[in-house]
């Protein structure tokens, strides 16, 4: 069937663009791979490959200001760890990263001045990327950079940006610093800077392929991709891990690894009974995977811990059990122990009541009435 809208030419990447990238040290094959991976990640038709290549070509190298607060630099590490020309490398070459504490050569006043300069020069045009949570307790004294609190920096940096991306679980939801009892009053970027539109890209660490795809989407279409209830881009967080999991057939069959190293575990059965949180976690880990698509936790034999879900350190624990603990019943009480206790207590109470009732006097109607 011939579709008049479909144009093979659109999907092709012009020769001169490929040559330019070759001159920059990125082979044609790598650049083609990059464009096709990005198109597929964003769930776009293959005809968009040419558009993506053109967007990467346009002479508008966007300025990026990457700030880090209460985080472990894990997201930066994830972004930089590439040992072959990859998506991340291409995008790193293309972007103009004007401020990044881990990457920049400048230090001290010089660095702050550079940040200030690019914020003014590209006001409303740059991309703000935030890593780590923002402490709100005691006026934010728990995290200060160059004498200014994280909260103030976030207000300035995110408030003047064209788009703000929160990378990692800490900046998306507060993450580990916000876990109970949250001594620093850590919150997410969207909570700290309510007026600013923030796109959350949680994960511990976030998946670089997704961040790259989000930036490519921004470069190609001039806006960030569509988001869900939690402010996450749907292309990366639109499906549960469980629904794309390679061990799903074992789940449906009823085959579960009972313990690490056990028979079921060695056969690659479902990790549900070892506390896998795949059924409540939205992420594209099973399809995109980590470390250049090498592997991901479930493939490596460990259940998902739900690291990209809100408050995962509080809500997804215990990591090796399916359900959270019942509040108020001590650390080891599971819901089934509490429930069984409740049912047993009911049975005992009414059993005793039954015996007492059987023995009680005055059952006889006439007798009862006389005494009333």
């Amino acid at each position: 069937m011939h579709d008049p809208e479909f144009n093979v030419e659109e999907g092709q990447i012009p020769e001169e663009i490929l040559q330019k990238w070759e001159a920059r040290g990125v082979s044609r094959r790598d650049f083609l791979k990059f464009c096709s991976v990005m198109t597929a990640s964003l769930a776009l038709p293959s005809t968009f490959m040419g558009k993506i290549a053109e967007a990467m070509e346009a002479d508008n190298r966007p300025s990026v200001i990457w700030v880090e607060f209460q985080g472990c630099t894990g997201d930066t590490e994830a972004f930089l760890r590439s040992n072959q020309p990859t998506a991340a490398e291409i995008i790193l070459d293309y972007l103009s990263i004007d401020y990044h504490e881990t990457l920049m050569a400048a230090a001290g006043h010089q660095a702050e001045a550079a940040k200030q300069a690019s914020m003014e020069k590209y006001k409303g045009k740059y991309i703000a990327i935030v890593e780590g949570s923002i402490p709100m307790a005691e006026n934010g004294i728990y995290c200060t950079i160059a004498g200014d609190s994280a909260l103030n920096i976030a207000r300035k940096v995110c408030g003047n940006a064209a788009a703000t991306i929160a990378v990692g679980t800490c900046s998306s939801y507060g993450g580990l610093p916000a876990a109970d009892p949250n001594p620093t009053g850590a919150v997410s970027v969207s909570e700290a800077v309510p007026g600013v539109a923030v796109m959350n890209m949680p994960g511990c660490p976030l998946n670089t392929e997704n961040l790259t795809a989000a930036i490519v989407h921004f470069l190609t279409f001039g806006r960030l991709p569509a988001t869900d209830n939690f402010g996450r881009p749907k292309f990366a967080y639109g499906k549960r891990i469980h629904d794309n999991c390679e061990r799903r057939s074992h789940f449906d069959a009823g085959q579960y690894a009972e313990k690490f190293g056990g028979a079921g575990h060695r056969q690659g059965w479902c990790l549900y009974k070892l506390g896998c949180k795949g059924p409540e976690t939205y992420h594209n880990c099973p399809t995109v995977r980590y470390n250049e698509s090498l592997s991901w936790p479930v493939q490596a034999g460990h259940g998902c811990i739900g690291c990209s879900e809100p408050q995962f350190w509080d809500s997804m624990t215990p990591f090796y059990k399916r359900l959270p603990q019942v509040p108020g019943f001590g650390v080891e009480a599971t819901v089934d122990k509490v429930g069984l206790g409740l049912a047993a207590a009911t049975a005992v109470a009414f059993g005793a009541h039954g015996i007492a009732s059987a023995l009680r006097k005055g059952d006889d109607d006439s007798k009862g009435k006389k005494e009333d």
Binding site: N229, G238, D243, F251, Q255, D336, G339, K369
Partner: protein, 220 residues
């Protein structure tokens, strides 16, 4: 003179929804318990145990939800024993009397339970609570069910529950309420049985036939 009169108390929608609820709660508890903690070991790769358990759970979840909704609608159209008013004894002086009387009977303070044709007041207080649990169970169940398809009907209507309470919080609640309903079932069967024996009015039979034996002298 004491005469017994056969009276039609539970109309057919009341009995039908009651028994649909019984069957669905049993199926939902067994399949739900399996889903939470798969207790059957399956060596065959071609099995589909969890798949069928979940399928049954969802089918009976729908059946149960419809039954509960029908019963709530029947609180508008049903007879006086089935209406909203009967489920709120705390709204009337008589209701309070009946409640305290029944409580007195259960705690061995009184020798006879207060006379009533439909439910006694203490029982309906429990049933009102049970309806609340049913509704929480249905809402949390369909919210969790909607997780498999973001953007689906259930995700759009109940997805906000996942944002407010968290999906694990909802799972825990869903699981806890199952145990509360099991505890309720124990009490419910016991009380029905006890009243049937003590009042000799055919309480246990009435949920099958709809009829109770009413002592006209008691009623006056």
């Amino acid at each position: 003179m004491s005469t017994l009169e056969l009276r039609y108390v539970w109309e057919w929608p009341v009995r039908l929804t009651h028994w649909i609820n019984v069957i669905s709660i049993v199926v939902l508890a067994v399949t739900g318990f399996y889903i939470g903690n798969p207790f059957v070991a399956v060596p065959d790769v071609n099995a589909y145990v969890m798949g069928w358990m979940r399928f049954l759970h969802f089918i009976f979840g729908y059946l149960f939800a419809i039954s509960v909704v029908v019963r709530i609608i029947w609180m508008i159209f049903g007879n006086k024993y089935a209406r909203f008013k009967a489920f709120a004894p705390w709204a009337s002086v008589e209701g309070w009397k009946n409640m305290l009387g029944t409580f007195g009977y259960y705690t061995f303070v009184k020798r006879k339970p207060p006379f009533c044709v439909g439910h006694n007041a203490l029982a309906v207080v429990a049933y009102s609570g049970i309806f609340v649990l049913f509704i929480i169970q249905i809402l949390s169940g369909f919210a969790l069910y909607g997780q498999f398809a973001p953007g689906s009907f259930w995700d759009n209507t109940l997805g906000s529950l996942l944002v407010v309470f968290g999906s694990q919080g909802l799972r825990l609640t869903h699981h806890l309420i199952m145990w509360l309903l099991i505890a309720f079932a124990i009490q419910h069967i016991y009380s029905g049985w006890m009243m049937a024996i003590k009042e000799k009015n055919g309480t246990m039979g009435s949920i099958f036939s709809g009829y109770k034996f009413i002592d006209t002298e008691d009623e006056s």
